[in-house]
Symmetry: C2
Subunit: 211 residues, 2 copies
């Protein structure tokens, strides 16, 4: 495996030397191979790790405490499913710790049953969906809730494509990296694409409102 | 229109009195009707505004500076399309100010053309999609990029449902509130539903990887 000095590691990872040294001190990046008292060399595993950290910090906007959880899951010989579970939990976060309403839980349970999804009711993702339904009811956005089945159908396509693209991954390491980066990067891709579709359909909306 | 004192406004908006006073000082909430030197009364418009602010702060996790932009757009006699544009810009933000690559721009342009979308190439949403494509290429997540057309198809359904649910809104005020809250709340709903679909399809993945 080709080795490189800190300067090259910085150049190839698009991070500054002080940032990399910070990640080293924080234990997010594994130490390099020491070649003298104040010199060390790094390899492609360090580069891969830095690319992962950079995506989590700059693309996903995650705080370092959560980046640490993902890095630990990836380092820990975990399976693709473990890595996916950790990534899901980290992405969902606990920003809104509110308990979902019983009504929202049963509305969501019905939608999940209709789609035939086999998923974890105790997972942060499930609670997050239930909280979103709770908020929508609370704000009286019944027009959105009435289409819950249609949104679930679109979400089904996305989740299926996500997993299909992992099937093509070359080995477990690539698959784990794909889960973590894919979830983070595909998330902003999908949401931006939805906004573009809104712009498109809004032109019809404008037409019908103006007449 | 029924009027209420600060204590009732707090109870009905699920916010504390100090929080409401802070929003008043910051100009996010319009002043109430003064009934004495240190008393004022509020009406349902104040309540609506507070519900909007609460959703933007607690559900969308937006900083106050961006909440201010949305509130200004809603207050400003704007059209549904204006409100949608402002909400889109605020949701996309400028967290990642990186310029998209030319290659990503042309990949995105092809996907938009394939779907027949009529959308704004200069909008923050478009740039955000192009940046997501740039990051995916940079991280070599070609398996995700290969499915860009499929993701765009799913996004098309979501954007169409979003706009269809607005068609049913009762008047322009309800539609604007629907755009703002709908975009914020539907966003976390959709992403949570995608995670549930992933959990479902991951079980097949696990099976095929184990054999």
């Amino acid at each position: 495996m080709p080795e490189m000095r800190m300067a090259e590691l910085a150049r190839r990872s698009d991070l500054s030397v002080p940032t990399i040294k910070y990640y080293l001190r924080e234990g997010l990046l594994q130490p390099g191979r020491r070649t003298s008292v104040n010199q060390a060399v790094y390899d492609t595993e360090h580069l891969e790790r830095l690319r992962l950290i950079r995506a989590l910090v700059t693309v996903a906007g995650l705080p370092l405490a959560r980046v640490r959880l993902v890095v630990a899951a990836v380092s820990d010989n975990s399976s693709v499913l473990d890595a996916m579970a950790v990534t899901q939990d980290v992405l969902v976060g606990d920003r809104d710790a509110q308990t979902p309403s019983d009504e929202a839980l049963s509305v969501l349970a019905a939608a999940v049953r209709d789609r035939g999804w086999d998923c974890e009711e105790s997972s942060p993702a499930y609670l997050s969906a239930a909280r979103a339904v709770t908020e929508l009811s609370r704000e009286n956005l019944t027009l959105v809730l009435d289409r819950l089945g249609d949104y679930a159908e679109a979400a089904d396509s996305v989740g299926r494509i996500d997993l299909e693209s992992l099937e093509g991954a070359d080995g477990i390491d690539a698959a784990i990296r794909g889960v973590v980066l894919g979830n983070v990067l595909r998330r902003s891709l999908l949401e931006s694409l939805v906004l573009l579709a809104q712009q498109h359909y809004a032109k019809d909306f404008s037409g019908s409102a103006g007449t």
